[in-house]
Assembly symmetry: C6
Homo-oligomer: 265 residues x 6
């Protein structure tokens, strides 16, 4: 699954630490980059932001259990009796000197590693076995991957032989100051009311006793802020955009509502 972005307006992104500098260094040195971190903390947005800033198109591939090397490289398709080669998103990125972003890369099938290895060491080559073609990645091609260490299980792990090919950095939710700015800007809600939302988010993320699979994402805060800005009462807006999306367990939902009462009470 790919997303091609030819629009070079730089999307809004509020840096957390020095991730922008790291990205630029990796891009300039031709090194692949691995972003680790939880859901909805802005990894995709960050990559889109950097791509635009560097003036490169971006191909985003959301990886999944059945994603194979052919999905990345391309395949022959039969069209009206004629067989035609159709490039996959990785091949297109290499050809155009674009950024290819493999979101949640450990979800992909194992043959993907085969494609990535010669592309992520000093060879920087993409081999299209089916056509016999062999592409030398241009200097402005960059491979970025992400994964969420929180999901890790025994069956799905990145092999060290793949992992040790990437520069890596860990992402986390932005600090309160930054998150308030982001949520207010995206939702149109005033800063004062946004502060409460971000304060609530801090409480939820800090409460390990709640046993949530993940803390509330910035995206859900924006949803909540949007509903409130649209006139929905705060408790309902938070029920639909925070409590229900985070858990199905009645106990956990009660605990979340208690937390809301504390923050808003």
């Amino acid at each position: 699954m790919t997303v091609q972005n030819h629009v070079f307006d730089v999307p809004y992104y509020q840096p957390i630490a020095d991730e922008c500098a790291l990205f630029e260094t990796a891009f300039n040195k031709g090194l692949p980059l691995l972003l680790k971190g939880p859901t909805g903390c802005g990894k995709t947005r960050f990559v889109e932001h950097m791509a635009a800033k560097l003036g490169r198109p971006i191909y985003t591939v959301a990886c999944h259990d059945d994603l194979s090397a052919a999905d990345l490289i391309g395949r022959y398709l039969l069209k009206g009796g004629v067989t035609e080669w159709v490039d996959g998103p990785l091949t297109r990125a290499v050809r155009e000197g674009a950024i290819c972003y493999l979101d949640e890369v450990i979800e992909a099938r194992k043959d993907v590693a085969v494609v990535l290895h010669p592309l992520t060491d000093n060879r920087r080559r993409l081999i299209i076995e089916r056509t016999g073609e062999e592409l030398q990645a241009p200097p402005n091609f960059m491979l970025v991957a992400s994964y969420n260490p929180g999901y890790q299980n025994v069956l799905k792990q990145m092999k060290p032989s793949t992992r040790q090919r990437f520069l890596s950095t860990t992402f986390d939710f932005p600090d309160a100051e930054t998150e308030i700015q982001v949520v207010a800007k995206e939702s149109g809600l005033d800063v004062e009311r946004t502060k409460n939302l971000v304060r609530l988010a801090g409480h939820i993320r800090g409460l390990s006793s709640l046993d949530l699979e993940e803390g509330v994402s910035t995206r859900l805060l924006i949803y909540a802020a949007s509903l409130i800005a649209g006139g929905m009462p705060v408790d309902k807006a938070l029920q639909y955009s925070v409590v229900e999306p985070l858990s199905d367990e009645p106990d956990v939902q009660v605990a979340l509502r208690d937390l809301i009462a504390v923050v808003y009470g």
Copy 2:
């Protein structure tokens, strides 16, 4: 599997809480919506009702173990020697600005998430990799999904990265007043006799000791009411439409018949 509904007569639906307002807000803000709740409590009917009210066609997809991204997006089919692209229900919904309803979405294969992610964040884009096409969802496109938290198992769970993209709300059986109205209207049975059926349903749903996988649905009450309205004795009608559909266990069937005797005795 899709169901296209071009008839805009608004199907009968009796609201339970403020779910209609939530649906309209989500539709207007372009946010995806997740409906949680048990079998046969009216989720499908609700979505059809809202689609008609908003004047949008609806594509319903009942998800299952083998449902893949291609089933939603489309595929090339060979017809009389010519290969032709055939849109899947999701693609059709995006093109027409319709509502796409993914019933029991966690049953679907994991590659479906790949399609949904860029469609459910701020990008709102559907990528048709096979044709190279990329669709920007129009404002009147909406994605609705449902699932039943009661079925959840370890193997099939919605990943937070998918789940935190939806506004969510929980459905439950309607209150007695509403359910009497619905059952009487659908079956043609008089309100007096319908009351007993709904009273029985309340007892069954409340008895956790019975160890039923799910409580009796409104649909089964309508079946029972139909049979009674058609002249079948109450005990037989309830045997065929409540006792037998709910359980194969002789013990549980006896307990259900005892409950019936209490209500009707």
Copy 3:
């Protein structure tokens, strides 16, 4: 796998309870019907009987592990260079207003449920996604399914969301009087000698200590009666048609022969 029956001679069937009335009511109300019960107690015969009585063709599908939605709905077949759509048995039944009987429905693959859902609620629609066709089931179409609760295991269970769409009734072996009539009529054996066979069957079915997977079916009694009517000694006929078909275990076979000695001794 389908069986089409255009001959409308009503096959012989001896009713056990009010199952004929239930079938007719379900047919008239357009409701699907689920028959539960052990092997060889006459479910298939019953459905064939009712189909003939109601003047409808019948399509019987014996479900199995690999039966998919496409097996029921149809598929494109390549014939001499031309691709041709071929209706599956369910589609044929919907088009002709016939009865479609899904024998042992829980054996089928899970995508079958997707086809059945819109066909078994108030929509009564069959969607043929591959051709883009959508069929409204005519009033004289009826869906009947069967399964054997005795086989149930953890992996194969009917989901409540499917199960609560059917009227259900439990079949069992006919009472002695009826079974004697059936066996005598089918085998040509005199009633006197048939009585002993049915008496034996009662003993076998009642003996839970034997640990048989299922009791002896009416079909096996007919086999035994046929062999005896053809001149085979009773002990040999019962060995080949009752003892050996019921078990491979020497202990169980001895116990069955003891039971035979008691009845015939």
Copy 4:
């Protein structure tokens, strides 16, 4: 995998009990027959013998894990650009009124049961869904199946709904008298020396302490007799045709050689 036998010379077969009469009765009554018993006791030979005696061609199908309904019924094959239907062995047997013998039937895939059900009850019909054809089995068609109860495991069992459609009988190794005759006739070894081999076989089959998966088959005795008749010393002949084929375990091989020493010592 099928074996067609148009040669009607009756192959040599030495009856053990009244299995010939049972086979003829089943053939005349149109009932399917199930043969149970260990490897190499002559089931295949028996069926070939009866087929020749009844003047019917025989199609033998050795069932296995991947044998599907299509392997039995037939499939479309692409030959030089033209698609041609090719009957499978079961279809050929039904068309010609032949005997179809499914060897080790429980090994086959589960969709095979679907084909066999309407063919083994009073309908006696074979449905070829792919071509839309429906064959009524002629009176001289007969279905015979075999399986070995000794192999049974939890995963592979005949469902009662299939099993209770067959007349069944158990085969075992022939008695000593008969086996001597068979082995001598097949191998050309004199009766005197054959007696020792059959005596040895009796000892091996009786020794449950040896923990062999199966006793020595008549076939292996014929191999041994052939080697001896060809001039090989008895101990070597028995090593190659009895000891080594029965076990890889050094302990068991020693025990078998001890047994040989007892019989021949």
Copy 5:
């Protein structure tokens, strides 16, 4: 995977016991032969030797997990728009009256047994279902199979119904005298230095305490002898051709080097 050998120079083979006589008897009697034994003890070489001696071509098939009946028999291949039947190695062997050698036969898929059964009993027939052809094996066709009892696991075992169709014999490493001859001849190393290698091999094979999956093969001795003959120091040659190929465990490697020190010290 097949190896066709039309060169009839008899490859060098040093008999261990009377395996040559057994092979010839089996060939003359038309009986299949099963060779059991460890890796690299010369089974393949033996079969090639006998094939050349008997003047028959040989088709060697190295069996594996995915080897199916079609791989042995043949299949239709699409070549330039025309479908062409291509014989598999077994079919070619039957047609030409050659020897077909199935190396490590239990690794193959289970449908292979179906092909072998009618070919390995008195029928000696190969059925090519796809083409409708049926071949009677000529007298100079012979089937040879091998397997290694040491690998046996619960999932992969030869069924007695297959196994009891073969004459069987166990292979082992040659005696020291013979092995010295073989290694010296193949490597060009002088007999004196070869003796040490074979002495070392004897020690390694006898040491059950080392917990090696298999003892050192004659092939590895030839490798070692080749390296030594080419001028490499003995300790390095043995490190690369014996120690490293036998084990990855540091402990075991140390033990092997100690053993080498004892023999060469």
Copy 6:
């Protein structure tokens, strides 16, 4: 996945022991070679170096779970209505007399062994069953394979019958002197600062208490040196290129940073 290298500039490689001599001997004797060792210690680089030195092209195949024999040998591809045979990398290597390098060979599917066996014993033959072609490997063809004993699990092990066909040697990280040279040369960092990095690597590799899946590779040291040479502060460079790529565990990351503090403090 193959990498073809027609450029014969010998890539820089710093020998560790006598691996170059072993490679040349194996090449000259026509023996296959197995390289064992951890990730990123230079195996691929070594093979490329030797290939260039010997003037042979190299085909590198990164093996994975789904890599099958056909991926190595080739397959028919449909191109514009015409079916065309396309050689796989192994076939190309045999035809051209090149070096074929199977990286992480035990990851490949089991049917690969079938291809390798006749190519790695005295036959040295590659059989292309699909085309009926049979290639005799020329003297300048060589097969090299690698695997990492550290990954070994019960399901994926090299069978002795495959393993005992290769000369084997173990690779490890280069000694400090050599590694400093390599890292400095590749990154452009001065030797003084490189020494610290290699010292750090020694500490990390020696600390078994850290429970890392693998020690830090030379490649990651080069990454770190590159970043430092580019002006990034040492602690950040090590965070992105050593700490984060080695572990997701906060405890382990802290331990690694402590180690860095010790070396740089």
